[in-house]
Protein backbone atom coordinates (compact mmCIF):
# COMPACT_ATOMS: atom_id res chain seq x y z
CA UNK A 1 0.00 0.00 0.00
CA UNK A 2 1.77 3.10 -1.18
CA UNK A 3 1.18 6.55 0.18
CA UNK A 4 -1.15 8.72 -1.82
CA UNK A 5 0.53 9.47 -5.15
CA UNK A 6 -0.47 13.13 -5.06
CA UNK A 7 1.45 13.82 -1.86
CA UNK A 8 5.19 13.67 -1.83
CA UNK A 9 6.86 10.95 0.22
CA UNK A 10 7.49 12.61 3.60
CA UNK A 11 10.47 10.34 4.12
CA UNK A 12 12.19 11.25 0.82
CA UNK A 13 15.10 12.96 2.57
CA UNK A 14 15.09 10.92 5.75
CA UNK A 15 17.95 8.53 6.31
CA UNK A 16 17.11 5.19 7.94
CA UNK A 17 19.15 5.72 11.10
CA UNK A 18 17.96 5.57 14.73
CA UNK A 19 16.91 8.97 16.09
CA UNK A 20 16.76 10.64 12.70
CA UNK A 21 14.85 13.94 12.39
CA UNK A 22 11.54 13.99 10.49
CA UNK A 23 10.20 16.88 8.39
CA UNK A 24 6.96 17.34 10.37
CA UNK A 25 7.04 15.50 13.71
CA UNK A 26 3.88 15.26 15.84
CA UNK A 27 5.75 13.74 18.77
CA UNK A 28 9.38 14.25 19.75
CA UNK A 29 10.97 12.29 22.61
CA UNK A 30 14.36 12.92 24.17
CA UNK A 31 16.32 10.81 26.65
CA UNK A 32 13.31 8.87 27.91
CA UNK A 33 14.32 6.40 30.59
CA UNK A 34 12.41 4.01 32.78
CA UNK A 35 14.23 1.87 35.30
CA UNK A 36 12.88 -0.90 37.49
CA UNK A 37 15.51 -1.31 40.17
CA UNK A 38 18.66 -2.29 38.34
CA UNK A 39 16.89 -3.03 35.08
CA UNK A 40 16.56 -0.29 32.48
CA UNK A 41 13.35 -1.14 30.67
CA UNK A 42 13.35 1.87 28.36
CA UNK A 43 16.23 4.07 27.29
CA UNK A 44 15.29 6.02 24.18
CA UNK A 45 17.78 8.73 23.24
CA UNK A 46 15.77 10.49 20.56
CA UNK A 47 12.68 9.64 18.55
CA UNK A 48 10.48 11.68 16.24
CA UNK A 49 7.12 10.53 14.94
CA UNK A 50 6.09 11.90 11.56
CA UNK A 51 2.60 13.40 11.31
CA UNK A 52 -0.01 11.76 9.13
CA UNK A 53 1.68 8.41 8.63
CA UNK A 54 1.54 4.94 10.14
CA UNK A 55 4.59 4.27 12.27
CA UNK A 56 4.96 0.83 13.72
CA UNK A 57 6.96 -0.01 16.79
CA UNK A 58 8.39 -3.50 16.66
CA UNK A 59 10.76 -5.55 18.74
CA UNK A 60 11.08 -8.88 20.48
CA UNK A 61 9.21 -9.63 23.71
CA UNK A 62 10.56 -7.57 26.59
CA UNK A 63 12.00 -4.91 24.30
CA UNK A 64 10.14 -2.21 26.25
CA UNK A 65 7.58 -1.32 23.59
CA UNK A 66 4.56 -1.31 25.86
CA UNK A 67 6.48 0.41 28.65
CA UNK A 68 7.54 3.13 26.22
CA UNK A 69 3.90 3.42 25.16
CA UNK A 70 2.79 3.74 28.76
CA UNK A 71 5.39 6.45 29.39
CA UNK A 72 4.41 8.51 26.37
CA UNK A 73 0.71 8.34 27.23
CA UNK A 74 1.23 9.22 30.90
CA UNK A 75 0.22 5.83 32.30
CA UNK A 76 3.70 5.25 33.72
CA UNK A 77 6.22 7.71 35.10
CA UNK A 78 9.59 8.11 33.41
CA UNK A 79 12.75 8.37 35.50
CA UNK A 80 14.20 10.82 33.02
CA UNK A 81 13.43 12.40 29.69
CA UNK A 82 11.22 14.94 28.00
CA UNK A 83 8.78 14.67 25.13
CA UNK A 84 6.49 17.00 23.29
CA UNK A 85 3.19 16.39 21.54
CA UNK A 86 2.17 18.88 18.85
CA UNK A 87 5.09 21.02 19.99
CA UNK A 88 3.88 21.26 23.59
CA UNK A 89 5.35 19.60 26.65
CA UNK A 90 3.86 16.15 27.19
CA UNK A 91 6.10 14.61 29.85
CA UNK A 92 4.70 14.68 33.38
CA UNK A 93 1.22 15.32 31.98
CA UNK A 94 -1.55 13.12 33.32
CA UNK A 95 -3.13 10.65 30.87
CA UNK A 96 -6.56 12.27 30.72
CA UNK A 97 -5.02 15.60 29.77
CA UNK A 98 -3.04 14.00 26.96
CA UNK A 99 -6.21 12.29 25.77
CA UNK A 100 -8.00 15.63 25.69
CA UNK A 101 -5.14 17.08 23.66
CA UNK A 102 -5.72 14.44 21.01
CA UNK A 103 -3.38 11.61 21.97
CA UNK A 104 -5.54 8.55 22.44
CA UNK A 105 -4.39 5.02 23.14
CA UNK A 106 -5.73 1.49 23.26
CA UNK A 107 -4.51 -1.36 25.41
CA UNK A 108 -2.86 -4.67 24.68
CA UNK A 109 -5.46 -6.40 26.85
CA UNK A 110 -8.62 -4.85 25.53
CA UNK A 111 -10.47 -2.71 27.99
CA UNK A 112 -14.03 -2.93 26.80
CA UNK A 113 -16.21 -1.75 29.68
CA UNK A 114 -18.04 -5.05 30.17
CA UNK A 115 -21.09 -4.06 32.18
CA UNK A 116 -21.86 -1.14 29.90
CA UNK A 117 -23.52 -1.36 26.52
CA UNK A 118 -21.56 -0.94 23.32
CA UNK A 119 -23.29 2.39 22.76
CA UNK A 120 -22.45 3.59 26.28
CA UNK A 121 -18.84 2.59 25.67
CA UNK A 122 -18.87 4.87 22.64
CA UNK A 123 -20.71 7.76 24.29
CA UNK A 124 -18.31 7.75 27.20
CA UNK A 125 -15.52 8.75 24.84
CA UNK A 126 -17.27 11.90 23.60
CA UNK A 127 -15.18 14.98 24.17
CA UNK A 128 -15.99 17.97 26.43
CA UNK A 129 -19.42 16.77 27.49
CA UNK A 130 -21.48 19.28 29.47
CA UNK A 131 -23.42 16.44 31.08
CA UNK A 132 -20.26 15.09 32.64
CA UNK A 133 -20.19 17.90 35.19
CA UNK A 134 -21.82 16.78 38.45
CA UNK A 135 -24.04 19.86 38.68
CA UNK A 136 -24.93 20.40 35.02
CA UNK A 137 -25.74 16.70 34.63
CA UNK A 138 -28.82 17.27 36.77
CA UNK A 139 -30.34 19.66 34.22
CA UNK A 140 -31.02 17.55 31.17
CA UNK A 141 -31.85 20.41 28.77
CA UNK A 142 -28.25 21.58 29.15
CA UNK A 143 -26.87 18.43 27.56
CA UNK A 144 -29.72 16.82 25.65
CA UNK A 145 -28.71 18.14 22.21
CA UNK A 146 -25.06 17.39 22.76
CA UNK A 147 -25.93 13.84 23.78
CA UNK A 148 -28.10 13.37 20.70
CA UNK A 149 -25.25 14.55 18.48
CA UNK A 150 -22.89 12.14 20.23
CA UNK A 151 -25.34 9.27 19.77
CA UNK A 152 -25.51 10.05 16.07
CA UNK A 153 -21.75 10.17 15.72
CA UNK A 154 -21.37 6.97 17.77
CA UNK A 155 -23.80 5.20 15.45
CA UNK A 156 -21.85 6.34 12.39
CA UNK A 157 -18.66 4.93 13.85
CA UNK A 158 -20.37 1.71 14.89
CA UNK A 159 -21.67 1.26 11.36
CA UNK A 160 -18.18 1.81 10.02
CA UNK A 161 -16.80 -0.84 12.36
CA UNK A 162 -19.78 -3.15 11.73
CA UNK A 163 -20.84 -3.08 15.37
CA UNK A 164 -24.12 -1.21 14.89
CA UNK A 165 -26.24 -4.33 15.37
CA UNK A 166 -24.63 -4.81 18.77
CA UNK A 167 -25.15 -1.25 20.04
CA UNK A 168 -27.43 -2.27 22.90
CA UNK A 169 -25.53 -5.40 23.93
CA UNK A 170 -23.27 -5.41 26.95
CA UNK A 171 -19.67 -5.12 25.81
CA UNK A 172 -18.75 -8.21 27.84
CA UNK A 173 -20.81 -10.25 25.41
CA UNK A 174 -18.61 -9.32 22.45
CA UNK A 175 -16.00 -11.64 20.98
CA UNK A 176 -12.31 -10.82 21.36
CA UNK A 177 -12.13 -9.39 17.87
CA UNK A 178 -15.27 -7.31 18.30
CA UNK A 179 -13.79 -5.84 21.46
CA UNK A 180 -10.70 -4.79 19.52
CA UNK A 181 -12.97 -3.10 16.99
CA UNK A 182 -14.98 -1.45 19.74
CA UNK A 183 -11.84 -0.14 21.39
CA UNK A 184 -10.66 1.35 18.12
CA UNK A 185 -14.06 2.88 17.38
CA UNK A 186 -14.21 4.27 20.90
CA UNK A 187 -10.77 5.82 20.52
CA UNK A 188 -11.95 7.59 17.37
CA UNK A 189 -14.90 9.00 19.28
CA UNK A 190 -12.42 11.26 21.11
CA UNK A 191 -11.45 13.02 17.83
CA UNK A 192 -7.77 12.18 18.17
CA UNK A 193 -4.85 13.46 16.13
CA UNK A 194 -2.49 10.69 17.23
CA UNK A 195 -3.85 7.18 17.68
CA UNK A 196 -1.62 4.81 19.60
CA UNK A 197 -2.59 1.15 19.26
CA UNK A 198 -0.97 -1.43 21.52
CA UNK A 199 -0.99 -4.73 19.62
CA UNK A 200 -4.36 -4.27 17.96
CA UNK A 201 -4.02 -7.54 16.05
CA UNK A 202 -3.04 -9.77 18.98
CA UNK A 203 -5.22 -12.86 19.25
CA UNK A 204 -7.37 -11.93 16.28
CA UNK A 205 -8.23 -14.30 13.43
CA UNK A 206 -6.71 -13.63 9.96
CA UNK A 207 -9.96 -12.38 8.41
CA UNK A 208 -10.46 -9.83 11.16
CA UNK A 209 -6.80 -8.84 10.97
CA UNK A 210 -7.41 -7.76 7.40
CA UNK A 211 -10.41 -5.69 8.43
CA UNK A 212 -8.46 -4.11 11.31
CA UNK A 213 -5.64 -3.28 8.90
CA UNK A 214 -8.17 -1.60 6.64
CA UNK A 215 -9.38 0.49 9.58
CA UNK A 216 -5.82 1.48 10.54
CA UNK A 217 -4.96 2.67 7.02
CA UNK A 218 -8.30 4.51 6.94
CA UNK A 219 -7.20 6.47 10.01
CA UNK A 220 -4.08 7.63 8.18
CA UNK A 221 -6.04 8.46 5.06
CA UNK A 222 -8.28 10.67 7.19
CA UNK A 223 -5.22 12.61 8.34
CA UNK A 224 -4.57 11.02 11.71
CA UNK A 225 -1.15 9.87 12.79
CA UNK A 226 -0.88 6.28 13.93
CA UNK A 227 1.70 4.60 16.13
CA UNK A 228 1.18 0.94 16.73
CA UNK A 229 2.96 -1.88 18.45
CA UNK A 230 2.94 -5.12 16.53
CA UNK A 231 4.67 -8.49 16.38
CA UNK A 232 3.55 -9.85 13.04
CA UNK A 233 6.16 -8.95 10.39
CA UNK A 234 3.74 -9.48 7.50
CA UNK A 235 1.32 -7.01 9.00
CA UNK A 236 4.07 -4.47 9.52
CA UNK A 237 5.47 -4.75 6.04
CA UNK A 238 2.00 -4.33 4.54
CA UNK A 239 0.78 -1.18 6.19
CA UNK A 240 3.60 0.77 7.83
CA UNK A 241 5.07 3.88 6.31
CA UNK A 242 7.86 3.86 8.84
CA UNK A 243 9.14 1.23 11.23
CA UNK A 244 10.91 1.73 14.55
CA UNK A 245 12.58 -1.29 16.09
CA UNK A 246 13.30 -1.55 19.81
CA UNK A 247 15.43 -4.10 21.61
CA UNK A 248 16.42 -4.13 25.28
CA UNK A 249 14.83 -0.74 25.80
CA UNK A 250 16.68 1.18 23.11
CA UNK A 251 15.88 1.98 19.51
CA UNK A 252 18.20 -0.10 17.38
CA UNK A 253 16.86 0.76 13.95
CA UNK A 254 14.32 2.83 12.09
CA UNK A 255 13.44 3.16 8.45
CA UNK A 256 11.01 2.28 5.73
CA UNK A 257 9.74 -1.31 5.88
CA UNK A 258 12.17 -2.27 3.12
CA UNK A 259 15.12 -0.82 5.07
CA UNK A 260 14.10 -2.72 8.18
CA UNK A 261 13.57 -6.05 6.48
CA UNK A 262 17.24 -6.26 5.56
CA UNK A 263 18.63 -4.62 8.67
CA UNK A 264 21.17 -6.82 10.46
CA UNK A 265 20.52 -5.34 13.88
CA UNK A 266 16.82 -6.13 13.58
CA UNK A 267 17.41 -9.69 12.42
CA UNK A 268 19.88 -10.14 15.25
CA UNK A 269 17.41 -8.83 17.82
CA UNK A 270 14.69 -11.16 16.60
CA UNK A 271 16.69 -14.29 15.86
CA UNK A 272 19.80 -13.96 17.99
CA UNK A 273 23.38 -13.37 16.93
CA UNK A 274 24.64 -15.23 13.90
CA UNK A 275 27.90 -16.77 15.02
CA UNK A 276 28.66 -18.13 11.58
CA UNK A 277 30.89 -21.16 11.75
CA UNK A 278 32.45 -20.40 15.06
CA UNK A 279 31.18 -22.49 17.93
CA UNK A 280 32.10 -22.28 21.56
CA UNK A 281 31.90 -26.00 22.12
CA UNK A 282 32.20 -29.24 20.30
CA UNK A 283 29.29 -31.53 19.80
CA UNK A 284 30.22 -35.16 20.13
Amino acid sequence: MDADATTADPFADVAPTPGVAKPDPILVADGVQRRYGGLTAVDVAHLELQRGVITSLIGPNGAGKTTFFNLLTGFDKANAGTWTFEGEKANGVRPHHLARRGMVRTFQLTKALGRMTVLDNMLLAGRDQTGESALKSLVKPLWRDEEAANVERAHELLVRFKLDALADEYAAGLSGGQRKLLEMARALMTDPTLVMLDEPMAGVNPALTQSLLGHVTALRDEGMSVLFVEHDMDVIMTISDWVVCMAEGTIIAEGRPADIAGNDAVIEAYLGIDHGNTTTGEIR
Binding site: F75, H96, H97, K111, R115, M116, L138, Y170, A172
Partner: protein, 325 residues
Protein backbone atom coordinates in the same frame (compact mmCIF):
# COMPACT_ATOMS: atom_id res chain seq x y z
CA UNK B 1 -48.42 -14.78 69.32
CA UNK B 2 -49.77 -16.02 66.04
CA UNK B 3 -48.07 -16.29 62.67
CA UNK B 4 -50.08 -13.28 61.61
CA UNK B 5 -48.80 -11.35 64.59
CA UNK B 6 -45.21 -12.21 63.78
CA UNK B 7 -45.78 -11.24 60.17
CA UNK B 8 -47.29 -7.88 61.08
CA UNK B 9 -44.58 -7.09 63.57
CA UNK B 10 -41.93 -7.79 60.93
CA UNK B 11 -43.85 -5.68 58.44
CA UNK B 12 -43.91 -2.84 60.92
CA UNK B 13 -40.12 -2.74 61.08
CA UNK B 14 -39.80 -3.25 57.34
CA UNK B 15 -41.95 -0.22 56.61
CA UNK B 16 -40.96 1.76 59.66
CA UNK B 17 -38.03 3.88 60.62
CA UNK B 18 -35.37 1.12 60.83
CA UNK B 19 -35.82 0.25 57.17
CA UNK B 20 -36.10 3.92 56.15
CA UNK B 21 -32.82 4.87 57.82
CA UNK B 22 -31.02 1.84 56.40
CA UNK B 23 -32.41 2.60 52.96
CA UNK B 24 -31.10 6.16 53.17
CA UNK B 25 -27.61 5.10 54.26
CA UNK B 26 -27.58 2.32 51.67
CA UNK B 27 -28.50 4.80 48.93
CA UNK B 28 -25.29 6.68 49.68
CA UNK B 29 -23.27 3.48 49.79
CA UNK B 30 -24.85 2.31 46.55
CA UNK B 31 -23.58 5.40 44.72
CA UNK B 32 -20.08 4.74 46.02
CA UNK B 33 -19.96 0.96 45.78
CA UNK B 34 -22.66 0.00 43.31
CA UNK B 35 -22.05 2.69 40.71
CA UNK B 36 -18.44 3.80 41.19
CA UNK B 37 -16.92 0.61 42.57
CA UNK B 38 -15.48 2.30 45.65
CA UNK B 39 -15.17 -0.18 48.52
CA UNK B 40 -15.98 2.10 51.42
CA UNK B 41 -15.86 -0.17 54.45
CA UNK B 42 -16.24 2.72 56.85
CA UNK B 43 -19.69 3.97 55.82
CA UNK B 44 -20.61 4.00 59.49
CA UNK B 45 -18.14 6.86 60.03
CA UNK B 46 -20.29 9.09 57.80
CA UNK B 47 -23.40 8.10 59.76
CA UNK B 48 -21.49 8.99 62.90
CA UNK B 49 -20.70 12.45 61.51
CA UNK B 50 -24.39 13.10 60.87
CA UNK B 51 -25.52 11.75 64.23
CA UNK B 52 -22.94 13.60 66.28
CA UNK B 53 -23.34 16.78 64.24
CA UNK B 54 -26.99 16.75 65.26
CA UNK B 55 -26.27 15.78 68.87
CA UNK B 56 -23.57 18.40 69.39
CA UNK B 57 -25.77 21.06 67.87
CA UNK B 58 -28.57 20.08 70.26
CA UNK B 59 -26.17 20.06 73.19
CA UNK B 60 -25.09 23.63 72.43
CA UNK B 61 -28.63 24.76 71.70
CA UNK B 62 -27.96 25.58 68.05
CA UNK B 63 -31.03 23.85 66.68
CA UNK B 64 -31.89 21.25 64.12
CA UNK B 65 -30.78 23.01 60.92
CA UNK B 66 -27.33 23.76 62.28
CA UNK B 67 -27.29 20.09 63.29
CA UNK B 68 -27.86 18.95 59.71
CA UNK B 69 -25.34 21.50 58.39
CA UNK B 70 -22.74 20.41 60.92
CA UNK B 71 -23.20 16.72 60.02
CA UNK B 72 -23.04 17.38 56.27
CA UNK B 73 -19.95 19.59 56.59
CA UNK B 74 -18.21 16.99 58.74
CA UNK B 75 -19.08 14.29 56.18
CA UNK B 76 -17.67 16.36 53.30
CA UNK B 77 -14.48 17.08 55.21
CA UNK B 78 -14.11 13.42 56.18
CA UNK B 79 -14.69 12.27 52.59
CA UNK B 80 -12.07 14.69 51.27
CA UNK B 81 -9.58 13.77 53.99
CA UNK B 82 -9.97 10.08 53.26
CA UNK B 83 -10.44 10.38 49.54
CA UNK B 84 -7.67 12.72 48.41
CA UNK B 85 -4.79 10.50 49.53
CA UNK B 86 -6.38 7.11 48.79
CA UNK B 87 -8.48 7.52 45.66
CA UNK B 88 -5.34 7.94 43.55
CA UNK B 89 -4.16 4.53 44.68
CA UNK B 90 -5.42 1.03 44.04
CA UNK B 91 -8.91 0.24 45.29
CA UNK B 92 -7.73 -1.78 48.31
CA UNK B 93 -6.25 1.26 50.01
CA UNK B 94 -9.62 2.94 50.33
CA UNK B 95 -11.11 -0.14 52.04
CA UNK B 96 -8.30 -0.39 54.57
CA UNK B 97 -8.24 3.31 55.34
CA UNK B 98 -12.02 3.68 55.68
CA UNK B 99 -12.55 0.69 57.96
CA UNK B 100 -9.68 1.81 60.19
CA UNK B 101 -10.84 5.42 60.26
CA UNK B 102 -14.37 4.44 61.27
CA UNK B 103 -13.03 2.44 64.22
CA UNK B 104 -10.60 5.18 65.26
CA UNK B 105 -13.31 7.83 65.13
CA UNK B 106 -15.64 5.71 67.24
CA UNK B 107 -12.92 5.13 69.84
CA UNK B 108 -11.98 8.81 69.90
CA UNK B 109 -15.60 9.80 70.38
CA UNK B 110 -15.94 7.30 73.22
CA UNK B 111 -12.70 8.34 74.91
CA UNK B 112 -12.85 10.30 78.15
CA UNK B 113 -11.06 13.45 76.88
CA UNK B 114 -13.85 13.85 74.30
CA UNK B 115 -16.53 13.96 77.00
CA UNK B 116 -16.88 17.73 76.78
CA UNK B 117 -17.92 17.50 73.12
CA UNK B 118 -19.37 14.03 72.60
CA UNK B 119 -20.35 12.86 76.06
CA UNK B 120 -17.78 10.06 75.67
CA UNK B 121 -19.18 6.60 76.47
CA UNK B 122 -22.43 8.00 77.89
CA UNK B 123 -23.23 9.85 74.71
CA UNK B 124 -25.66 12.75 74.40
CA UNK B 125 -29.32 12.41 75.26
CA UNK B 126 -32.50 14.44 75.25
CA UNK B 127 -32.14 15.47 71.64
CA UNK B 128 -35.84 15.43 70.84
CA UNK B 129 -36.82 17.92 73.49
CA UNK B 130 -33.82 20.11 72.71
CA UNK B 131 -34.26 20.14 68.92
CA UNK B 132 -38.04 19.89 68.77
CA UNK B 133 -37.97 17.33 65.98
CA UNK B 134 -41.38 16.05 67.04
CA UNK B 135 -42.85 19.45 67.79
CA UNK B 136 -44.02 20.54 64.40
CA UNK B 137 -45.64 17.11 64.16
CA UNK B 138 -48.52 17.39 61.74
CA UNK B 139 -49.79 13.98 62.72
CA UNK B 140 -52.32 14.18 65.59
CA UNK B 141 -51.57 12.26 68.78
CA UNK B 142 -52.74 8.69 68.93
CA UNK B 143 -51.96 5.35 67.46
CA UNK B 144 -52.40 4.28 63.89
CA UNK B 145 -52.65 0.84 62.35
CA UNK B 146 -54.70 -2.22 63.06
CA UNK B 147 -54.69 -5.08 65.51
CA UNK B 148 -52.24 -5.18 68.37
CA UNK B 149 -49.11 -5.73 66.32
CA UNK B 150 -49.20 -3.32 63.40
CA UNK B 151 -49.36 -0.03 65.23
CA UNK B 152 -47.41 3.20 64.93
CA UNK B 153 -47.73 6.10 67.30
CA UNK B 154 -47.70 9.63 65.94
CA UNK B 155 -44.00 10.11 66.71
CA UNK B 156 -43.02 6.95 64.90
CA UNK B 157 -45.14 7.95 61.93
CA UNK B 158 -43.53 11.38 61.84
CA UNK B 159 -39.94 10.14 61.80
CA UNK B 160 -40.89 7.45 59.29
CA UNK B 161 -42.47 10.04 57.06
CA UNK B 162 -39.51 12.42 57.21
CA UNK B 163 -36.98 9.66 56.68
CA UNK B 164 -38.82 7.97 53.79
CA UNK B 165 -39.18 11.41 52.18
CA UNK B 166 -35.43 11.87 52.39
CA UNK B 167 -34.97 8.40 50.92
CA UNK B 168 -37.27 9.25 48.04
CA UNK B 169 -35.58 12.60 47.40
CA UNK B 170 -32.07 11.20 47.42
CA UNK B 171 -33.11 8.23 45.29
CA UNK B 172 -34.64 10.53 42.66
CA UNK B 173 -31.51 12.69 42.75
CA UNK B 174 -29.28 9.64 42.28
CA UNK B 175 -31.59 8.41 39.52
CA UNK B 176 -31.11 11.65 37.61
CA UNK B 177 -27.39 11.50 38.18
CA UNK B 178 -26.74 7.92 37.14
CA UNK B 179 -28.77 8.33 33.96
CA UNK B 180 -26.69 11.33 32.90
CA UNK B 181 -23.26 11.34 31.23
CA UNK B 182 -21.85 11.97 34.70
CA UNK B 183 -23.22 8.62 35.87
CA UNK B 184 -21.82 7.01 32.75
CA UNK B 185 -18.33 8.11 33.74
CA UNK B 186 -18.86 6.65 37.23
CA UNK B 187 -19.85 3.29 35.76
CA UNK B 188 -16.86 3.39 33.42
CA UNK B 189 -14.59 3.95 36.42
CA UNK B 190 -16.21 0.98 38.15
CA UNK B 191 -15.46 -1.16 35.10
CA UNK B 192 -11.95 0.02 34.32
CA UNK B 193 -10.27 3.17 35.59
CA UNK B 194 -7.49 3.13 33.02
CA UNK B 195 -9.94 2.93 30.15
CA UNK B 196 -11.74 6.00 31.51
CA UNK B 197 -8.40 7.79 31.85
CA UNK B 198 -7.36 6.93 28.32
CA UNK B 199 -10.58 8.55 27.09
CA UNK B 200 -9.83 11.83 28.83
CA UNK B 201 -11.77 11.49 32.08
CA UNK B 202 -10.29 12.86 35.29
CA UNK B 203 -10.92 9.71 37.29
CA UNK B 204 -9.82 11.03 40.69
CA UNK B 205 -12.24 13.97 40.58
CA UNK B 206 -15.19 11.72 39.72
CA UNK B 207 -14.31 9.26 42.46
CA UNK B 208 -14.05 12.11 44.96
CA UNK B 209 -17.42 13.51 43.89
CA UNK B 210 -19.10 10.13 44.24
CA UNK B 211 -17.40 9.54 47.61
CA UNK B 212 -18.48 12.95 48.95
CA UNK B 213 -22.08 12.69 47.73
CA UNK B 214 -22.44 9.15 49.11
CA UNK B 215 -20.93 10.29 52.40
CA UNK B 216 -23.33 13.22 52.71
CA UNK B 217 -26.33 10.95 52.17
CA UNK B 218 -24.88 8.65 54.83
CA UNK B 219 -24.58 11.56 57.24
CA UNK B 220 -28.25 12.41 56.67
CA UNK B 221 -29.13 8.85 57.65
CA UNK B 222 -27.03 9.23 60.80
CA UNK B 223 -28.72 12.51 61.66
CA UNK B 224 -32.14 10.90 61.22
CA UNK B 225 -31.13 8.03 63.50
CA UNK B 226 -30.11 10.54 66.17
CA UNK B 227 -33.38 12.46 65.79
CA UNK B 228 -35.51 9.33 65.90
CA UNK B 229 -33.92 7.79 68.97
CA UNK B 230 -33.36 11.08 70.76
CA UNK B 231 -29.87 10.13 71.85
CA UNK B 232 -26.51 9.12 70.48
CA UNK B 233 -23.81 6.97 72.00
CA UNK B 234 -20.67 5.46 70.55
CA UNK B 235 -21.77 1.82 70.84
CA UNK B 236 -24.02 1.93 67.81
CA UNK B 237 -21.45 2.91 65.18
CA UNK B 238 -19.58 -0.34 64.81
CA UNK B 239 -18.31 -2.07 61.67
CA UNK B 240 -21.21 -4.61 61.57
CA UNK B 241 -23.51 -1.67 60.77
CA UNK B 242 -21.43 -1.01 57.63
CA UNK B 243 -21.66 -4.69 56.75
CA UNK B 244 -25.42 -4.60 57.26
CA UNK B 245 -25.56 -1.71 54.79
CA UNK B 246 -23.54 -3.73 52.30
CA UNK B 247 -26.01 -6.56 52.81
CA UNK B 248 -28.85 -4.18 52.03
CA UNK B 249 -27.14 -2.86 48.89
CA UNK B 250 -26.26 -6.31 47.55
CA UNK B 251 -29.63 -7.77 48.53
CA UNK B 252 -31.50 -5.12 46.59
CA UNK B 253 -29.03 -5.13 43.71
CA UNK B 254 -25.83 -3.06 43.70
CA UNK B 255 -25.85 -0.42 41.00
CA UNK B 256 -29.64 -0.24 40.70
CA UNK B 257 -31.67 2.85 41.52
CA UNK B 258 -34.34 1.31 43.72
CA UNK B 259 -32.20 -1.55 45.05
CA UNK B 260 -31.32 0.04 48.41
CA UNK B 261 -35.00 0.62 49.24
CA UNK B 262 -36.04 -2.91 48.33
CA UNK B 263 -32.95 -4.26 50.07
CA UNK B 264 -33.67 -2.38 53.30
CA UNK B 265 -37.31 -3.47 53.41
CA UNK B 266 -36.48 -7.11 52.73
CA UNK B 267 -33.53 -7.06 55.15
CA UNK B 268 -35.60 -5.82 58.07
CA UNK B 269 -38.56 -8.00 57.24
CA UNK B 270 -36.49 -11.18 57.14
CA UNK B 271 -34.53 -10.25 60.23
CA UNK B 272 -37.57 -9.42 62.32
CA UNK B 273 -39.65 -12.25 60.99
CA UNK B 274 -36.95 -14.74 61.91
CA UNK B 275 -36.69 -13.08 65.29
CA UNK B 276 -40.40 -13.22 65.96
CA UNK B 277 -40.76 -16.76 64.71
CA UNK B 278 -37.88 -17.97 66.83
CA UNK B 279 -38.95 -16.20 69.98
CA UNK B 280 -42.65 -16.64 69.95
CA UNK B 281 -43.49 -19.70 67.98
CA UNK B 282 -40.88 -22.38 68.24
CA UNK B 283 -38.82 -22.09 71.35
CA UNK B 284 -38.51 -19.97 74.39
CA UNK B 285 -35.01 -18.72 73.70
CA UNK B 286 -33.13 -15.92 75.34
CA UNK B 287 -32.66 -12.68 73.45
CA UNK B 288 -28.96 -13.20 72.95
CA UNK B 289 -29.44 -16.66 71.49
CA UNK B 290 -32.10 -15.53 69.08
CA UNK B 291 -29.96 -12.54 68.16
CA UNK B 292 -27.18 -14.87 67.09
CA UNK B 293 -29.65 -17.24 65.50
CA UNK B 294 -31.33 -14.65 63.33
CA UNK B 295 -27.98 -13.51 62.03
CA UNK B 296 -27.25 -17.13 61.15
CA UNK B 297 -30.51 -17.26 59.23
CA UNK B 298 -29.61 -13.98 57.54
CA UNK B 299 -26.27 -15.46 56.53
CA UNK B 300 -27.90 -18.56 55.07
CA UNK B 301 -30.37 -16.35 53.25
CA UNK B 302 -27.56 -14.30 51.75
CA UNK B 303 -25.74 -17.44 50.66
CA UNK B 304 -28.86 -18.67 48.93
CA UNK B 305 -29.26 -15.29 47.28
CA UNK B 306 -25.69 -15.37 46.02
CA UNK B 307 -26.23 -18.86 44.62
CA UNK B 308 -29.60 -18.29 42.96
CA UNK B 309 -29.71 -14.57 42.35
CA UNK B 310 -26.25 -13.02 42.64
CA UNK B 311 -27.34 -9.81 40.94
CA UNK B 312 -29.66 -8.99 43.88
CA UNK B 313 -33.41 -8.65 43.84
CA UNK B 314 -33.59 -5.82 41.31
CA UNK B 315 -30.32 -6.45 39.50
CA UNK B 316 -30.24 -7.17 35.80
CA UNK B 317 -28.99 -10.71 35.33
CA UNK B 318 -27.48 -9.96 31.94
CA UNK B 319 -25.55 -7.01 33.33
CA UNK B 320 -24.37 -8.84 36.45
CA UNK B 321 -23.07 -11.77 34.44
CA UNK B 322 -21.40 -9.57 31.88
CA UNK B 323 -17.92 -10.31 33.15
CA UNK B 324 -14.59 -9.95 31.44
CA UNK B 325 -13.21 -6.95 29.69
Amino acid sequence: MSWLGVFLLALQTALGFPAASYALAATGLNLQFGYTGLSNFGMVAFLMMGAYGMAISADRGWGIWVGFALGITAAVVLALLLGIPTLRLRADYLSVVTIATAEILRLVIAARPSAELTGAARGIGGLSSELGFFRPNFIPEGSYGFGDDFVFNSRQLWSMLVCWSLVLLSTLLIRTWVRSPWGRVLRAIREDEDAARSLGKNVVIYKLQSFVIGGVIGSLAGAMMALDSGSVGPARWIAPLTFALYTVVILGGAGTVWGPIVGAVVYWFVLDFADGALNNLWFEVSDTTSGAFRLTLMGIGLMLLMVFRPQGILGNKKEAFAVGR
